[in-house]
């Protein structure tokens, strides 16, 4: 069983990463994208007279949300073209592991993007990211995982329904709100040098719930 799991896991992970990294310029484009987002967010909030530093956690999470949505959308679309998702459905593997592999590859790409984003925050928003980098990393990783856990589940739920395009945002976005609120608050605390244990615990709980749900439910979704 564990051999099987590994094989499937690595197959999906490799395939997704290869597709993404085909030209490793994906990182360059996420980097550019982050630059632009930070610029856009700055100009959008300039009139409100907020302090630059106070905006960083919010800006960071807006970036995650937006790049994450683009990323999930891309995965979604690439599985739909040529009916590729059917190949996944028809494979003789536990859906749960497929799900975890997809979450992993999605989260991995997003986390790398976030790590590229941090220096930019320092440059453009004069953020001090060193005050409590452990808590910061924990907040980012947990938040991203929770975000992709929900997103990956919903992408496949909707891939199997006739109304896939309508259902995807309708189901996904509300489910992601708690994660975002917790993420912003945990990040904010980390940037101020504190550790927001309650928010981090909340994120862990969200992860456990959604990953377990995804693991168990995914198989039921793999039908048409």
């Amino acid at each position: 069983m564990s051999g099987q799991v590994l094989s499937v896991f690595s197959a999906v992970l490799r395939k997704d990463l290869r597709r993404e990294l085909r030209s490793r310029e994906i990182f360059i484009s996420s980097f550019l994208f982050s630059v632009i987002l930070l610029m856009v967010i700055f100009y959008a909030s300039k009139t409100s007279g907020v302090q630059l530093e106070a905006m960083s956690s919010g800006a960071l999470w807006l970036c995650i949300l937006f790049s994450g949505t683009i990323g999930l959308n891309r995965t979604h679309q690439s599985e739909m073209v040529n009916g590729c998702y059917r190949a996944l459905i028809l494979a003789p593997v536990e859906g749960g592991w497929l799900y975890l592999a997809k979450v992993c590859s999605n989260a991995l790409l997003l986390i790398v993007m976030e790590l590229l984003l941090l220096p930019l925050l320092v440059l453009f928003y004069h953020t001090d990211i060193g005050k409590n980098s452990g808590a910061l990393l924990a907040a980012l990783v947990l938040g991203t995982l929770a975000f992709t856990a929900v997103g990956t589940l919903v992408v496949v739920i909707t891939a199997n329904t006739r109304m896939k395009d309508v259902l995807f945002p309708v189901v996904q976005l509300p489910l992601v709100v708690p994660t975002l609120i917790a993420g912003v608050n945990a990040t904010e605390a980390a940037l101020q040098g504190k550790t927001a244990d309650n928010w981090l615990q909340f994120l862990v709980a969200v992860n456990v719930v959604f990953l377990a749900a995804g693991f168990l439910l995914y198989d039921f979704l793999l039908e048409e």
Binding site: R18, A87, I89, V93, E223
Partner: protein, 236 residues
Amino acid sequence: MTLSIRFHELSKQFGETIALWRVSEAIEPGDRISILGHNGAGKSTLLHMLATLSKPSSGELTFSLAGETCDDVKKLRDHLSFLSHEPMLYPDLTALENLRFINRLYQRNLSEDALRELLDKVGMSDFGDRLFRTCSRGMQQRLSLARALLPQPKLLFLDEPFSGLDRGGVERMKALFADDQMSWVLVTHHLRLGYELANRFWILHRGRLLHSLQKRDLTYEAYIKLCEGSSMEASA
């Protein structure tokens, strides 16, 4: 291990449309079945259900593995394979990368050489490193077949596999179908090939199974007559 499928009063509805209505039949090891019928007769719908891709609206569908009823879809899927209208291959990966992915996904552990041999079998050995989306239509169809054959299934479902293929491609496909280890169910509008290759025929008309026949009971002429009768259009 043998695989057989029986279904009883199988129906499929999409909203108001009845795509399939109370179809009962069975697939046994060694069967090579051609499904024939007009456009919209319900052939693809039936194939989708047999390939465990969709569930019937009503009716019973029973899979047996090694003589015993098997409810575990995963186990079944290990022995099934499906070549559908869509190629199910990633456009941004090369031919070989696509096959490698399927190889892992099905845990077949085929070597690189085996994969190349498979490409050779469908006449694509020179194009292993070409991105799937830059292949011509016929080349894509060949790769789809390679994908379907890779897991060495017991039972293969084929939905119009000859479309877009040149003569050479059709010949290759015919040769691959001759494999004795494999049963298959073929949907095609190519009546001659449908007769030549199969040993059983199902003729669908407007979602109903009109005829289910053995080849030994049927001359080519009688077969053509039956097919033409039923391939009158549904809308006519």
